[in-house]
Symmetry: C2
Subunit: 417 residues, 2 copies
Amino acid sequence: MKNTLDPLEPKADKATVRRHNLSLVLRAVHDEGETTRAAVAARVGLTRAAVSSLVEQLLGSGFLTESGKTFSGQAGRPGTALRVARTGAAGLGVEINIDYVSVCVVDLAGTDRVRLTEHLDNRDVPPAEVLGRAARIAARTLDSAAEQQLRPAGARLALPGLVSGGTVRQAPNLGWSRVAAEELFGRALAAVRPDTGTLPVGSENEANAAALAELWFGDGPADRARARNFLYVSGEIGVGGAVVVDGELLRGAHGFAGEVGHVVADAAGPRCRCGSRGCLEQYAGQTALLRDAGVGADAGGAGVAELERRAAAGDARALAALERAGRMLGLVLSGVVNLLDPEAVVLGGIYRGLVPWLAPAADGELTARVVSGLWTAGSGRLRGSSWSGDAARGAAALVVRDVIADPAGYAERDGAR
Amino acid sequence: MKNTLDPLEPKADKATVRRHNLSLVLRAVHDEGETTRAAVAARVGLTRAAVSSLVEQLLGSGFLTESGKTFSGQAGRPGTALRVARTGAAGLGVEINIDYVSVCVVDLAGTDRVRLTEHLDNRDVPPAEVLGRAARIAARTLDSAAEQQLRPAGARLALPGLVSGGTVRQAPNLGWSRVAAEELFGRALAAVRPDTGTLPVGSENEANAAALAELWFGDGPADRARARNFLYVSGEIGVGGAVVVDGELLRGAHGFAGEVGHVVADAAGPRCRCGSRGCLEQYAGQTALLRDAGVGADAGGAGVAELERRAAAGDARALAALERAGRMLGLVLSGVVNLLDPEAVVLGGIYRGLVPWLAPAADGELTARVVSGLWTAGSGRLRGSSWSGDAARGAAALVVRDVIADPAGYAERDGAR
């Protein structure tokens, strides 16, 4: 039984309430994009005077900017237009995947402002070396960000494995086991950029980060609201996944939910790096796809581009490989849909560009296997991710969300640095 | 981004606040079992005087009782002991399953006070006839409840199928499709008990209801808190399921989540009544289990008892059938655990008594197939449900929870009847 109302916090002191209200106001401006003091007051349920005082503090700390032009919103008189600042506090997102590292800096509005991606093979390279290289890429990204007057409020790593408590418990495709990724990255970044020595570093599963980016920034179909209940499937060398329920990540009891790549597609199938047999990854992961298509399993990102080219040209072997992978995807996804009843299944990573060839077979399995005729072929419930559904951007946005949740706390920490 | 604090409801009027606080106080007493005004005040954050006034109203309306004896709780001075009333408002739960109907009445404390179960075959019987029979069983149960001074505040049906908006969209094992179950049951009950003509009737999937009963009343292992993140699997002729996340049911976008019985165990397996092939139900449902064990697939409840007897006696065919079903259960559950990372998987329905023979094979598959070595054989994460994990009780408790969530609203409706 869930409370919808809570008793009126008798013990909250004035400073706590103000700190909380600063966040409410900043978030209101963030969510509206451009708005006025009056519209903010109407939205958050505070007086105009209280909102004005909070806005002054947020302007003074550099979280908001205002422009002289007036803006006529739906909620009353025109006023000075408020927006979140495009300089100052920013998020640093660092995706370390099997065959690339991608780093981005997003501003308070969540916009991707700087991006640096390097394609390289991180398999069987010592973790400290991979994280050191990622730190050097991050440092170069921060140099560009600094020229745009953006200062990182924190860094968030996005990693293809089970991440918990600052550690990668297991990332089979990287060959990592119990790697203290946050600490190693933080130390390596401080070595090349001493001013980042106190920067908070966090970490997140890459599919989780990409799913959040899809949730926050993805463009839903124009005719309906963006899905808030979906499964995100990230095709890479591994197949990652994330479950979003009512606009929140489902993390599970230990933080390891979403491992759709290791759901069994065929009990007697080939051995997987995770120790099981016949996992979805063995049929629909990048390595299997490229091998079956005859592209060469180790061709990496170039191989995926080649697969797309061959499929578009009607190459029979490429089409057969994609059809088979789509069928196995659909088989496993039918179980997920029966279990979770999501609005949509979003295909990201390498699948995004392969949707035209994967989706028909997957949709066929879903239509045949989802109970109660709830899945209709071609319903649009199976779809490619938007270009915003990206792990580095999601990771960076998590940092920004933390700032918005407590701007006063960030200002204090920033002042101390 | 989730708000942890909300602005102080400026528009809530006094009557709304009092109504809300009545529920807070009733719920506090309900959750504590036996408590004092002082302890309630400390728990809900209201003054002692406010709590006393609310308690008087709840005593006057018959929701609470007090005893003269003093009780020394942890939160201050001894006082008169308060408990929720064991007479008055009650919940009526009606489980209609494939081969039985079970009806119970629970009091405000959630205690199962009256229970009437009839074993009968509901397959291929017209839905109106099944619901009419259930109504007659419910009427007899209400007669017993009335002798204990319990009055139903509402009825909740628990049904083995996809339930939404008062209708059973599909219950393949009953052969039901688009049955207006709430309306048919309400009308049939009013025909035999005219005083129930205005009784609100709701409906719920049976596995969901059983999972809630397990959540609210189940006895967790003594050495740890009761699980609040688990998958409940209900073995019956069909295999139902429910996903509980942070103490709440995960319902899905259309309310149809939890259909673990139709997750595919073998893509090329036998045709299922749902239209797919190789669903878990085809290997681990009651019909398959009894058939494989040579007990006779239509032997129903008696057949399950016979299967247990044979397994306990070491009958090789019974043991082989249970081992196979356990393996298929474990195969599908490994996917669920990889996807949702629950604390526990709880086996209910006919599985409860069969756990000693199902669990070893299932646990073996889980240990081999859950990523990252997170599943350890014999960890206790796979376990039988408690005897409280029962759909009729869960359905009845849902009615009681509604009363506790708004006692003033119930008192008004009850007065109008």
